[in-house]
């Protein structure tokens, strides 16, 4: 049995009180509850405060470039389908620098889970506006206020993701459950996580989120399979902010649709000399 102690790592360098601690806790709990051993796990992160997370827990770790956790996660998943692959980003990482990878990973439905620590600001570079900063948010790069934000949930549904959810760093229990669902989902699972940044976002604070978030009812009352309803629900942002699974759909994953991926993981297979001879012969 995997235990919480299996998921320990370096001391976090995050600011005291940062929402990232709640996410770390929820991720660790989810991994333990799913009984995933660290060596079966691959954490791929980008650059930013969020991107440091893997170092504070355990697993195989590929801490990638800013904006680029998703492509290597995809490459690694294809190379070894038996790995549990979790990609980790900040909001700038995911929706700014990495925006193109994001929409295409959604549409191709790669079988990875994507945790986006959405603090609506650039933390590591000290407080510039991010693509999810609320309209008018004043920062050093947006002195006359930020342009309207990306709504990651709407965007993910529009781009074709099959599991689209929102969590809150202030509710680790609910988030744990979401992460478990995301990892269990076959296909691309987005978990956009409202994450207060106590140093650079004085607007979207723990309190601000707490006053607004509410959990989507499960078990029939809200049907995440209804795309139109989901798109409507996704638009909700302001006085009330829904958290939970907003959209979910069963669909073949990218990996499922590649004949070459049937069978043993690529990393354990070899091309036989006879096969090579065959293709050479075709040029005679």
């Amino acid at each position: 049995m995997v235990e919480l102690s299996d998921y320990s790592g370096l001391n976090p360098t995050w600011c005291p009180g940062c929402g990232n601690f709640g996410i770390l806790k929820a991720l660790n709990s989810a991994l333990v509850e799913l009984n995933i051993e660290p060596h079966r796990l691959l954490l791929v992160s980008g650059i930013g405060q969020a991107g440091k997370l893997p170092h504070y827990t355990s697993g195989n770790i590929f801490n990638s470039l800013h904006g680029r956790p998703v492509p290597p996660a995809i490459g690694a998943k294809i190379a070894n389908r038996e790995l549990v692959v979790v990609a980790i980003s900040g909001d700038g990482d995911a929706y700014g620098e990495g925006g193109n990878h994001f929409i295409h990973a959604c549409r191709r439905n790669h079988d990875i889970t994507y945790l986006v620590h959405d603090n609506q600001v650039y933390g590591l570079t000290k407080g510039q506006a991010s693509p999810t900063s609320d309209t008018g948010f004043v920062t050093k790069t947006t002195p006359s206020g930020a342009a309207p934000p990306i709504n990651p949930v709407t965007l993910a549904i529009a781009a074709g993701a099959t599991f689209v959810s929102r969590g809150f760093a202030g509710d680790a229990e609910h988030l744990t459950d979401l992460i478990k669902k995301g990892i269990n989902h076959k296909g691309f699972a987005l978990i956009d996580i409202l994450q207060p940044c106590v140093s650079f976002n004085q607007k979207n604070t723990f309190q601000w989120y707490r006053q607004r978030v509410y959990k989507l009812p499960e078990g029939g009352e809200y049907d995440p399979a209804d795309k139109a309803a989901a798109l409507g629900k996704a638009q909700e942002w302001g006085d009330k902010i829904p958290i939970g699974v907003i959209y979910r759909q069963e669909a073949p994953t990218y990996e499922d649709q590649i004949p070459a991926l049937a069978g043993a993981p690529l990393v354990t297979r070899e091309i036989s000399p006879a096969q090579v001879e065959n293709v050479i012969t075709e040029f005679l």
Binding site: K77, N80, L266, I280
Partner: protein, 565 residues
């Protein structure tokens, strides 16, 4: 008399220039001849002017020739542009019924291509038959070649009939002297392009992952591997852009499969950040840069060698890499295998520089021997000892640390594109940083040992040495022949390994010859610059071409003479 026949098939895009040209080349290859064929086409799908040159010899051939022996003109423009290129004794086939205003040149021989084809689509096949008749090609062999190409029964039959019609039209109507070539089959050769050879090299090396974004002239590599995906168990991902492509490739390499990507200059620009990611995470990755004229989009369907200095220095900071440049189609196979081996042995990015000319030109080569292929995967950790002690970036004497594959043992594989400690965790410690930089750079020591002596041709001592790199190997070699036939003392050196640089070999040449000329398809002489950097010496001259057209033996020989060879 030795055989050296130059065919040129010309027409507009959509007229089947490429397939007629390829079939010509294939037919001659099947008849036992050596073939070198290049393609000249515009960046458009229909119209414009395209041509395909196939040069046939009964011995080694590695370059095109400008003067044409048998011209197949599928349209008027081809006559206008290429009739002046006809060599003595040359013939031009065209369709006098559709091209009324062809002029009165005696060398024009009309074959009613469209009429004989029955439909316009197969006019090119009629022309093929006609052209082959001019050399008394064995019609039964032509049938075989056509059936092999057009698989589908009906289509093959139609084309066989069309070719026969053209063939017979010449046999009956052509009054000039035909050149009777014998079939000299000795054992079959492969006919393939540089890109094909790279694909085969990758397959033989066990590459199982590719991610790429289409770009001429690299695109056919991804297309070939995609076609073979199911059969061979290779995954080819058509990524959303080149940034994704290189990063997916790195992810796959990290996870333990041999992985590559391929692009051209503009796409390589977008991969530069990933290059350094591979560098600092010590992930093996093979990157193919099939050059074309730049900067920016430049001339998308033409050739150049303008990326050398770029790929040598791409990315900020100091870290090791290798740069290879196959000198011909055959070499592309071996170089590709070497690239995968070096990438894994030294855990670094290896760049293969090709160009449009090499990528798209066909050559006949002896069948690749896969028995001789040696797969070297380097130091691999497979779970021995205490897995919790495993450190991905352990500082070692060679600079190489054993690689573990995530998930295949209990060892955790931790790496970071921030500077990291031996365990792979990010650090800002000054001493650790210094040690990691030095460890990575030490890999160059081993890599340098891998460098072989570059290809040379001609006597060791010569007054003039021609120095080239990559795809120009065949053209320079023939230029040497031309110059030597004219009594000049010339030899050559052709580099296919550019980094680490074979300093000793190049210095030797520079020390012996009175005149040393670089031959390059670029505007500034990028190899000359590299030679200067590595040896401190200037070459005596630069023979450069940068109009997007390939360097030819005649061009090189002429230029060398002008330089005073």
């Amino acid at each position: 008399m030795p055989v050296d026949i130059n065919f040129l098939v010309g027409g507009e895009a959509g007229q089947g220039v490429q397939s007629a040209g390829f079939l010509l080349a294939k037919a001659m290859s099947r008849a036992g001849y050596h073939v070198f064929a290049d393609q000249d086409y515009e960046s458009r799908i229909r119209g414009g002017h395209n041509f395909f040159r196939a040069r046939i010899k009964d011995g080694r051939v590695g370059a095109v020739r400008e003067d044409v022996d048998i011209l197949v003109a599928l349209n008027k423009e081809t006559i206008d542009l290429h009739l002046p290129e006809l060599a003595a004794g040359g013939v031009a086939i065209y369709d006098g019924e559709t091209i009324a205003d062809a002029g009165a040149d005696k060398r024009l021989f009309s074959v009613p291509l469209e009429k004989l084809a029955g439909e316009r689509l197969m006019a090119n096949t009629v022309a093929l038959g006609a052209a082959l008749a001019l050399i008394d090609y064995d019609p039964a062999m032509l049938d075989i070649v056509l059936s092999g190409y057009f698989r589908e029964g009906k289509v093959a039959e139609g084309n066989i009939a069309a070719a026969r019609a053209g063939y017979e039209h010449v046999m009956k109507g052509y009054a000039g002297k035909r050149r009777a070539l014998k079939t000299v089959v000795t054992g079959r050769r492969m006919l393939l392009t540089g890109n094909d050879a790279i694909c085969l090299g990758a397959i033989a090396a066990g590459c199982k992952f590719m991610a790429a974004y289409p770009m001429t002239p690299a695109g056919s590599i991804m297309e070939y591997l995609a076609a073979k995906s199911g059969e061979l168990g290779i995954v080819m991902v058509h990524a959303e852009d080149e940034i994704a492509a290189v990063n997916m490739t790195i992810g796959a390499g990290y996870a333990g499969v041999r992985a590559m990507t391929a692009t051209s200059g503009s796409g390589f620009c977008l991969m530069v950040e990933g290059l350094g990611l591979a560098g600092i995470t010590e992930t093996p990755v093979v990157m193919i840069d099939a050059q074309r004229p730049g900067p920016a989009v430049g001339l998308p369907t033409r050739t150049e060698q303008g990326d050398l200095q770029f790929v040598l220095h791409a990315h900020h900071g100091d870290f090791p890499r290798a740069v290879l440049a196959p000198r011909n189609v055959e070499d592309a196979f071996g170089v590709t295998i070497r690239a995968f081996n070096w990438a894994e042995k030294y855990q670094l990015p290896v760049i293969i520089l090709t160009d449009h000319h090499l990528a798209t030109s066909y050559a006949t080569v002896e069948p690749f021997e896969i028995g001789g292929v040696n797969i070297e995967r380097g130091l691999i950790y497979r779970g021995e000892g205490a897995p919790e002690k495993y450190r991905r970036h352990e500082v070692t004497k060679s600079g190489v640390s054993p690689r573990a594959f995530p998930g295949l043992s209990r060892a955790l594989v931790v790496t970071d594109c921030d500077e990291h400690d031996e365990a792979g965790h990010l650090t800002e410690d000054a001493a650790t940083r210094t040690a990691q930089v030095q460890k990575r750079l030490r890999k160059m020591v081993g890599l340098k040992q891998e460098i072989s002596r570059p290809f040379t041709y001609g006597r060791k001592k010569a007054e003039t040495s021609l120095i080239g790199w990559g795809s120009t190997g065949g053209a320079i070699q023939e230029a040497v022949d031309i110059l030597r036939r004219e009594g000049r003392s010339v030899n050559m050196l052709q580099l296919n390994e550019l980094w680490p640089f074979p300093t000793a070999a190049v210095s030797d040449v520079l020390g012996v010859a009175t005149n040393t000329y670089v031959i390059e398809s670029n505007a500034t002489g990028q190899l000359a610059r590299l030679i200067k950097t590595e040896t401190g010496r200037d070459v005596s001259g630069k023979i450069l071409r940068f109009d997007g057209r390939p360097l030819t033996p005649a061009f090189i020989a002429e230029a060398a003479k002008k330089e005073g060879c």
